[in-house]
Symmetry: D2
Subunit: 370 residues, 4 copies
């Protein structure tokens, strides 16, 4: 109800503020008997961690996870899995002078309006550190998915004006290249240009936006729910709920507005590789029809806005005096969020898919009447 | 859990199949004491109704709503409001030959995969008739919003290749022009071109996609929840959950990918009209920061795919024989969905806002500490 | 959120007022492929129906159910099942003079306090007619349970001062005798006395309370959830949520307060009938340990208060004038509710079990590590 | 969905196993601006803590709580409150030989059946240590209630065969006497007898059950929801969901079965103390009618079974060999649970009331039409 829980069967609740004692997550509804250790969660957190390269925030957090419950002798028990990461490299001083002057592009002002009280240090609850819980939960969701042969990959396809050559990017190429550069773009030429652009914009005290694509492979047909909890609806919610995301597309997305039905529809055929299974040569639908998976790869794209924390002067209002004023933001920030959103977006898609997989399990058909 | 309910406090549950006895909706969580009659609901249903013009489906449904509960002497009582619309002009014959051959672009194939049984007549549960319940619920949500001075408007901004001159469109203009043409585009010149295009494409047996924009005015700052149930996340879910929608944007949406922070951030200032209130001259954020409303108009855009039902021949598979085959679809269909999605999109946005308004009411701050 | 929905996967939403147009129910989350027809639902409604004997309310309602959705060619489709029963024999006149004088023992006064508006006719939403939806949903839950060999039976074990000889009552005897008398007591001698008592108390214009026992047989071990959603916790909620119920017991219930651990604990043994299965000779726990089923019959008992509508004069307050006054209630009422609560209690237990059965299905263990 | 979360607006999620690293709780939906410190939570935990007297378990746990989030400068912020208590005095050795031989009266056997894997040490998730999270959450719920003048008190009214003289017990007396003896009985004579009885039964290696009463004062009329989420239904769920509880009563409870309507109904009158408010001289209903509070004290009673862990030999089955065997339980256990359940029962009632209070806030009437 208050927005900190996601999912219906595989339920993820995150808690914690950027400069509080810790951040964490509780997962309720993970199937029992799944092999799980801290190392698997840590691996994903390490991908999310700040300070991984010179083009990311200099905040140094080891982000060491501890699993406090729900695991027994290396396996999940079906009881809640509680995970915690301590906040260590906290420097609240730069935020003190921003306490009453909301930063443009940030949650400060509406948080004040909603709650009347706000932990302003490091963005408080609205900090990107909250996503630690998501990534930790995603690591476990991935394990649920792996048992069903489903994998989730994300990569940066646009950053500032630079765009990857999308037509040449395959899941295999993403896997190969994704961690080769700090921008997480599978097209290595584009990656190089993106890095240069980030460096130049950072020097100007400014920031860049971009586009991230997420691909889930291996899902069979029929995963999802109809009407309101469509698979694409839940993916849209999960992805739009990541800070800085301003748009979500499935398949061809906004391009469909200019297409005709005869171009858009993915014709059905029998799999050319000999299996007696229904497939489509094209995948304009992005693997989802009527809110349910079709068996084709599930393809989403998200628009990520430029980091709102910039060191250029910005106009704002002092909420005590209600006078206009100007601020410059000197904290430690990523000049471009898309590369760091990659593991978060993967996590959210994994959580949605794991949840829907379990929802499908709950209501298996009693009969196949065809 | 099974996807047919939306909302947390203002909860909407729809039911019914296209060619079943009726479709309907139950709303639980509507505040008591609200003046409400069938006429107000009927007005919105009339906007959604098929057969309103020569460019829409010829299915003739009066779509007369009956409110069966939750109203006493012209006011809501706080108990569930059940509304029902009978299906009358049902013609299931054309669907019989499509029973085992899933239509490309439709939910048929994944429904079969998920449920093992499916009411194939008129698309069954996946039919656009399901949105009757949404629009009826939206009519009531609008009444909740009206008490707080919030209004929701949608209009078509692109159809096929034709695009409205967006820069000239104001909420007032939308209100004035929206029902003047059957395409519901506030730019009347563009509207004319859209209508011509629809006619020509329909003659080819094909269909068109488009873009619809939804604007909510009057919301004060601070409506929404943080983290997962962000206002934009719930809007994305609500809108992506409408059939045929393949993309959702908030504010500048995907354009943010090419912007710099200094361009994207909406600077805060004191309202130039004399009120001591924080506002922004620009509204790139689309009225939402950190998942909460800022007080600026809330602006969403959705990409609507071309109607998948086209009369051109399409490849598919007969699921009994698992042989490839070809179908042509002769039912009664809209060649372009965007104009008819307008009242549905308005309804979904109204439902999200009413729900979040009530969520905010539940957790009013105990103190204003600033 | 607003109290009209029950269940997590098998979700039941009821709507409707006693003297409104109709009452009804929507079930979302029923597994697809289940054979189902109106006759099976009608059979349970007929057991609930008023006017079945001379010791029940003379209101004459045929209570004919119509299933409006979710069924296709005699099977459930996995989509919402909407059922409706029209209100026909409505006589609101006697209620007019009770509009502002809350009836003692009824919901009138707190409804006014909560909602500020109330359909006073026939008790409005708080009428026992609301249970039509529960019984209709229960009929479907029973079908889900039947597929797993689970059956639910209820019977009256005490009415006024008369108590059935419980030690002699077996599930088989309940099945045989339950519908033989209008009091639904399996001990036919006790039943006779109960009937006489009801007649005499009714003549005095007064009413009687009683105790109903519900037994569910056939559930295997391990159904339920830990901690908050324990099977007994959900049963307690489901049963206490029936109007007029003031107490719920599982197994020996309140008798446990005077027992020692060595008496209370049900020792485990291998089934004496040759199967290699863990059983207990005694069943003090009522088939539930730690919130999960043990494999023994699940046994609940509920205390049902005497009908609050009595024709003797009662003190109350006129809420317009805030003056004390006196009322006598002349409506059509059952002098004893327990017999009519039998099908409702069965329905609620069936709904809880069906829901927990599906919850268990959703999270099947990945491995058996023992 | 998986049973570890309670509440709709004020949502409580507990996690942790008895012999794991820690136990904890996350509360989402606490109103912002509420003054709160660890001391207030610690005070309630100290009442729950083991080892408080010679008639309770000798397990020595300091149970020191840390609040990790959701508080800023001494006030709640409206974001999730995460609290953690480390497990320190863990002795898992005695449990090793019980790993495959389920203890009668405990959750062991059905947990194995449900999950296929189980942390058997100290009862794992089914341990009474799980209630730490409930009591911590209850301490915060109490603060929400205090702002509305609501207080919650519990006390032991029966233990073994000893029964307190209930007619003489007032809320003031409970407050005065409750912590004077380790059995938490307000009737000090009865308390003395209870203590003696506990000592003698413990020497026999056996245990005792009892009855706890919970009284909530100060609630105005109209709190609760109709139909399924009745206030008494949610109280029944909350209380039956506490380990060892086998029965729940509201008001006169099971005594109503032998009463007539004319005896049971609480007549309404104008408050004799001069306020123009509707009250009742009697309170047979226990402060709840139609699932909503009446303004009278809310009175619940629970039956608590004797501690299942006894040191007398008990029959059970070895689940590896499926052979019958015998166990004696040598852990550290309370010979009687009722005194220690007192703070847990108070916490659960406080959580239910706080949640329903906020639910009422969300849907305030738009008008008072009377």
């Amino acid at each position: 109800m208050s927005g900190n829980t996601f999912g219906t069967i595989f339920r993820v609740t995150t808690w914690g503020e950027s400069h509080g004692a810790a951040v964490g997550v509780v997962i309720d509804g993970c199937p029992p008997g799944l092999p799980l250790g801290e190392a698997e969660v840590q691996k994903e957190l390490d991908r999310r961690r700040p300070g991984q390269s010179d083009i990311s925030t200099p905040r140094k957090e080891e982000d060491r996870v501890a699993i406090l419950s729900g695991i027994f002798e290396g396996r999940t028990t079906g009881t809640p899995i509680s995970m915690i990461v301590r906040n260590r490299d906290v420097d609240s001083l730069p935020y003190e002078k921003l306490r009453h002057t909301p930063r443009p592009g940030h949650a400060d002002y509406p948080y004040d309006a909603k709650y009347g009280i706000r932990d302003h240090r490091g963005g408080g609850r609205a900090s990107a550190r909250e996503t630690i819980g998501r990534v930790a939960a995603g690591a476990i969701a991935r394990k649920v998915l792996a048992e069903h042969g489903i994998d989730v990959l994300a990569h940066v396809i646009a950053l500032g004006g630079v765009r990857a050559r999308e037509s040449e990017i395959t899941p295999a190429l993403i896997k190969e290249n994704i961690e080769k550069t700090p921008v997480r773009c599978a097209d290595l030429n584009a990656a190089e240009q993106m890095i240069e652009l980030i460096r130049s914009v950072r020097e100007q005290g400014d920031s860049l936006g971009g586009i991230v694509e997420i691909v889930a492979t291996g899902a069979t047909a029929g995963i999802g729910e109809p009407v309101f909890d469509k698979l694409d609806a839940d993916l849209a919610k999960a992805l739009m709920g990541i800070g800085a995301v301003k748009g979500v597309e499935i398949g061809v997305g906004f391009r469909c507005a200019g297409m005709k039905g005869s171009e858009m529809n993915d014709a059905f055929e029998i799999s050319p590789n000999g299996e007696e299974v229904v497939v489509s040569e094209t995948n304009n639908a992005g693997g989802i029809l009527g809110g349910l998976s079709t068996g084709a790869p599930i393809v989403c794209r998200i628009a990520v806005k430029p980091t709102p924390s910039i060191s250029l002067p910005q106009k704002t209002v002092d909420l005590r005096t209600m006078q206009e004023t100007e601020i410059t933001i000197k904290g430690r920030h990523d000049p471009a969020i898309p590369p760091r959103i990659v593991p978060v977006a993967e996590a959210m898609v994994a959580i949605v898919l794991a949840d829907h997989l379990l929802r499908n399990t709950a209501l298996k058909p009693h009969t196949k009447t065809l």
